[in-house]
Each structure stands twice: as structure tokens, then as C-alpha cells.
């Protein structure tokens, strides 16, 4: 069993109203050092194989087909 983490984030240049709202809220809490905030998603997946190459290929296909909308989102894959 391989544990994987997929992180999906908005592409640069895509407006992120939720990130902006969080940024504003952090500023309002007095965190003066806050710069830009971008919100994303994290998926923890278990892949039933011992073959890391296969797991990586499967995860890439999962990202392309479902987990990310590649029109607006980027993704990264990390294996345990």
C-alpha cells in the first residue's frame, strides 16, 4: 500500500476570491505580515500497489481526469 498526497491549487492569474477573503480576515486579526493567500485542496489517497512508478502514473491520470480541473488548477503528487 502506498500513501500519497495530492495538492491542488489554482493557477497563477486565476482570481481566488476565497483566498482574498482569508487574506483580508488574517489582516483583520492583526497579522500585519500577511502577503497573498491562495486556497487549495489536499487529497490523501491510498494506492493498493507496491509499484511506485505505477502508483505515480495512476495518480497523474486521476488528477487529469477528476481531482483537478486543469483549466484553472495545478496539482502536485507526493508519495510516502
Amino acid at each position: 500500500m502506498i500513501n500519497a498526497r495530492v495538492t491542488v491549487t489554482l493557477k497563477n492569474g486565476v482570481l481566488d476570491p476565497q483566498g482574498k477573503a482569508i487574506e483580508g480576515a488574517l489582516g483583520a486579526l492583526g497579522f500585519d505580515s500577511i502577503g497573498h493567500v491562495r486556497q487549495g485542496k489536499v487529497f490523501d489517497l491510498q494506492i493498493d500497489t507496491a509499484d511506485k512508478t505505477k502508483a505515480e502514473a495512476d495518480l497523474k491520470a486521476m488528477c487529469e481526469k477528476l481531482l483537478a480541473n486543469t483549466v484553472i488548477e495545478n496539482y502536485t503528487i507526493a508519495l510516502d
Partner: protein, 223 residues
Amino acid sequence: MKSAVVQLPGLNRDRDMIAALTKISGKAPVTIWQTETDIPDVDLIVIPGGFSYGDYLRCGAIAARMPVMQAIKAKAEAGVKVLGVCNGFQILVEAGLLPGALMRNASLKFVCKEIQLEVVNANTDFSRAYEQGQIIRCPVAHHDGNYFADAETLRAIEGNGQVVFRYAAGTNPNGSINDIAGIVNAKGNVLGMMPHPENLIEAAHGGADGRGLFASALDVIAA
């Protein structure tokens, strides 16, 4: 003209859509359930609004990957007209039948109100009952209607006349790029729009501005 309405778990505007199609065409549409892959022989397939599969992951993302959508994609490629309203529009972009993406409203709020639409292209199968540049009333009710497309895609759809409806000046409820409210595919047989024309088709609704869209798509424009 025969029509069909897609029913998926979580879609809730199917009844309104069935009523609108029945009243305007005089014939009740057939319904297509999520498990069907053998789509009946119709001229127009409508994907209504709602919250298919709970809007999980992204609005329309799960529905777009159901086998029924593969079957609808094949029908669209064969030239059958497909109309997606609200969640239906979100499903069509997630399925790749229309370009771009629909993101969270810029206000972060769910909007439920009446806006005005400008008919930017009255020369499509879905808009020819309207005049070019006509301003019509239409209700909206959505949380994720903020249309986005990259610069290249935007240039292409604007250049090809694929933008059919724009929010009229000052009424953009969601921050969509170029005030885009509804677009067609390059071939012109698939239309997606966030506003709900099915909810403004008779006096009881307080107006009938949405009727022209169905009259166009169902080919029942009065001479």
C-alpha cells in the same frame, strides 16, 4: 421537436424545466436517469440546474464523469442540441463540452435575484427568437457562476461569436470575465448559461422573457 431532461441525484430544477418544455412545445420531454447510456432519439437534451452529487469536489465535476454524460457527449458530437442551465452549465464545462470553468462568485455569496441579459448573438439555435442586442430579464440562483477562461480561449470564443448572453451593464452578479452569462460551443449546438430562463416563461412568473430561448431551441417561434 422532441426533447429530454436529464435527472441526476441533487438536481432540483428538473420539474421547472419539464414544465417549461411542455408548455412551450406542447409535448412533455422524456427523462434520462443517471444510469442510462442509451439516450432516446431527441432533438434537444436539457441538463437542468441544482446541486448534482452535492456539488462535491467541484460543481458538476462528478456528474460530468458519469456514463450518462459520455452518452450525451456522443449525441452532441452527432449534432443533437444540448442545453445546460446553471448546474447544467457547470456540468458541460466540467465534461469539456464547453470551454472555460465556473468558479465561486467573486462576492463569495450565493446570489438569488433577477438580472438583465444582453443577447449578444441572436444568430444561434438557442437565441434566434430574440433581437440582436435585446435586453431581457432573467432570474439567477447560484454560488459558482463566475465564468473564467484563459486569454487565448476568451479571444477565441469572443471572436467566434460564441458568447450568446452577457449580463447587461451593472448587473453582473458573480464577477464573470467579460460579463459572460452564456456561451455556445464552436459548432453552435451546445449552450450553457447560468441564468434560469425556465423560470420566466409565463404571466404567473411575472414575465415571459425566457420563452424565446426555448422557442428557439424547440423551433416553435411564432411567425
